[in-house]
């Protein structure tokens, strides 16, 4: 069996209702699994970018791309080169912090990870952290002993390095 890899697909779509459903439904129907997806508007009005992370062999990814290309609301599909991209994810993490020691330890760890404290109360701290998914995973692992109350992650978003950009064909 062919080796499976994690692939990141950058998809430019029409920014209108129902498009996320159309895309996610395609994955469901064809039996492809979405590991991770993030959607947001781009610099161009009416256009959104979906960054989709998929695990699969090369044939599966080829099919994913071809099937995505068939959707009328999908304007461009590009598989990003994992060696040459910037990938980021944002997480908000709320942790128990009842003692002074815990509070100080957490803030120290947050400094090392370049996370920011964004909310404080007597019983907990909330931090925001940006980075690769691995970095966020590591930070969450570090926070576990304090008692994690809640985590919200955005899913990854990516762009290729260098001057080239994923543009819609004319």
């Amino acid at each position: 069996m062919e080796q499976k890899y994690v692939h990141i697909i950058s998809t430019i779509v029409e920014h209108k209702p129902g498009v996320l459903y159309t895309v996610s439904n395609l994955f469901r129907r064809r039996g492809f699994n979405i590991d991770n997806i993030s959607v947001g508007p781009t610099e161009e009005p009416g256009i959104a970018r979906m960054t989709i992370m998929v695990t699969g062999d090369n044939r599966t990814i080829e099919q994913v791309i071809k099937q995505l290309n068939k959707l009328i609301d999908v304007l461009k599909v590009t598989r990003l080169d994992p060696e040459n991209i910037v990938t980021r994810e944002l997480a908000l993490i709320k942790v128990n912090a009842t003692s002074t020691k815990a509070r100080s330890d957490i803030i120290n760890y947050a400094d090392i990870f370049r996370a920011r404290v964004v909310d404080v109360c007597t019983e907990s701290l909330m931090m925001e952290i940006t980075g690769t998914s691995d970095k966020i995973d590591a930070f969450i692992t570090l926070m576990k002993p304090f008692g994690i109350k809640e985590v919200a992650r955005t899913g990854i978003t990516s762009l290729s390095r260098g001057p080239k950009s994923v543009k819609i064909d004319d």
């Binding site: 779509v13 029409e14 129902g18 459903y21 159309t22 439904n25 395609l26 129907r29 044939r59 080829e62 099919q63 071809k66 099937q67 290309n69 068939k70 959707l71 009328i72 609301d73 999908v74 304007l75 819609i168 064909d169």
Partner: protein, 567 residues
Amino acid sequence: MAKMTGAQALIESLKQEKVDVIFGISGGALLPIHDVLYDSEIRHILARHEQGAAHMADGYARAIGKAGVCMATSGPGATNIVTGLANAYLDSSPVVALTGQVPTYSANTSYMIGRDAFQEADIIGITTPITKYNVQVKHASEVPHAVKSAFYIATSGRPGPTLVDLPKDTQTVKAEMDFSENLQIRGYKPNIDPHPLQIKKAVKLLMKAERPMILAGGGVNLSGASAELLQIAELLMMPVATTFMGKSCFPETHPLSMGNIGMHGTMLANKMILEADVLLAVGTRLQDRSTGTLDGFCPDAKIIHIDVDAAEIGKNVPVEVPIVGDAKPTLSMIYQRLANKIKKSKNNPWIKQVQEAKDKYLSELDLGSGDLTSPKLLKELRKLLPEQAIIATEVGQNQMWAALHFQTIKPRTFISSGGLGTMGFGFPAAIGAKVACPNSPVVDIAGDGSFRMTEQELGTSVTEDIPVVVIVLNNSMLGMVAQWQRLFYQKRYAAVKLGSVPDFAKLAQAYGAEGVHVGSMAEFSSVMKNALKTEVTTVIDVPICPDDDVFPMVPPGKGLKDTVGGL
């Protein structure tokens, strides 16, 4: 720019698309449209069930090669066309569905869609996986663009069904309508013309081939590429097998015709394709019903795969030369290059081998014992019908017997539900085909189980004066399921015996159609000849032996080399 209501704009748009007929059923959410339609020259054929209307539009499209239009009201009307759309989707048939919808706004509530209003269904959500494109009109002014997009997308590239959902208030509101716009759809640019380099590679491979063979699929019918296919086949003396959907794209009376391949393909096609060293597969998605298990499918062949849909190439079978392009221009380019390089091939060892196999196959063909068997009836039917006659089929044994034993000659003369296998498809599809081609005889080869799923369309056929012939191969069973139970489930006939089967002749007569029972081949011939002369739908009830099986057959989970039974 002109100011008019959404309903008026819809009818104007349909006229621009040269729509002459709509198959449908009205309802509350369609009243403004029907009111405008009443004064237009577009014919509305009132079906008895929306599924029937969708199949009629599908049959119309397959027979004539332009989009078929069906229309249904909101909620249950819309959900009743779902099977028809799924059927059209899997067979790449250009059907445009128009559905009524509850109003976007109403006087007593601000927003109505999404509030589970009376007869509201999320038809956009429901049909997303089974349409090529669907859109809900949010304002009357969007109607011209929505309709134009739906027709363009349904009929171009790889054809498929589309749907336009029309909330009731968008039908009544007046707006400035722009019909002149040049259609630009950013995310849709079908690739029709093949890459010349790939053509060159294909030609090189074909020139070197010692045992070349063509596998032609439904894409050849859809693209109208039969003439180009014939040219290449004759130039290189290549035997031609067709997939189930490809049937009728190559004349089966031609010496190079091998018939269908697949689960119920001919022994000849199933065996010879395994010998090929180069396979030119065109307009086929090489689906499991055609290929059997992929392990052992064309083991020695380098495959050239032509398809207008890039996603089909390499999806199921690895290929040597992928060509993304429409069958007609692609085959035409291949032919031009070949014709510049070679003169017509003479008989060669491969074609001699194929011909010998074909002679043997034909001489040993077993049409069953007794005077009136399904295969014999289909052979007789061929003799009684002109070349351009259209055969529609239901689904099951009747369908496979028709594919095996009724020789098609002209393109688009075999209309059957291939991908979805929709029982109840054949009769309404036959009605649609007859509307498209009123001068061609249209015959539905039916089984009693399948015919009963849409038999109420007899009402449509008679009332709307659309005469077709229905031949019911009647074994009082769900025959194909029974065959599988006989072969693979120790004859445990669970849930296949239909019991009280109605008298189909009387049923037809009750609707005002002709209905006849026949008991012998001579009787059948005479009744059939009469049926072709009369101007009214005729149902011919033919009892067949419930133990008859369709052979040859590739057992489920096996490959073409394992084709068994019959010849």
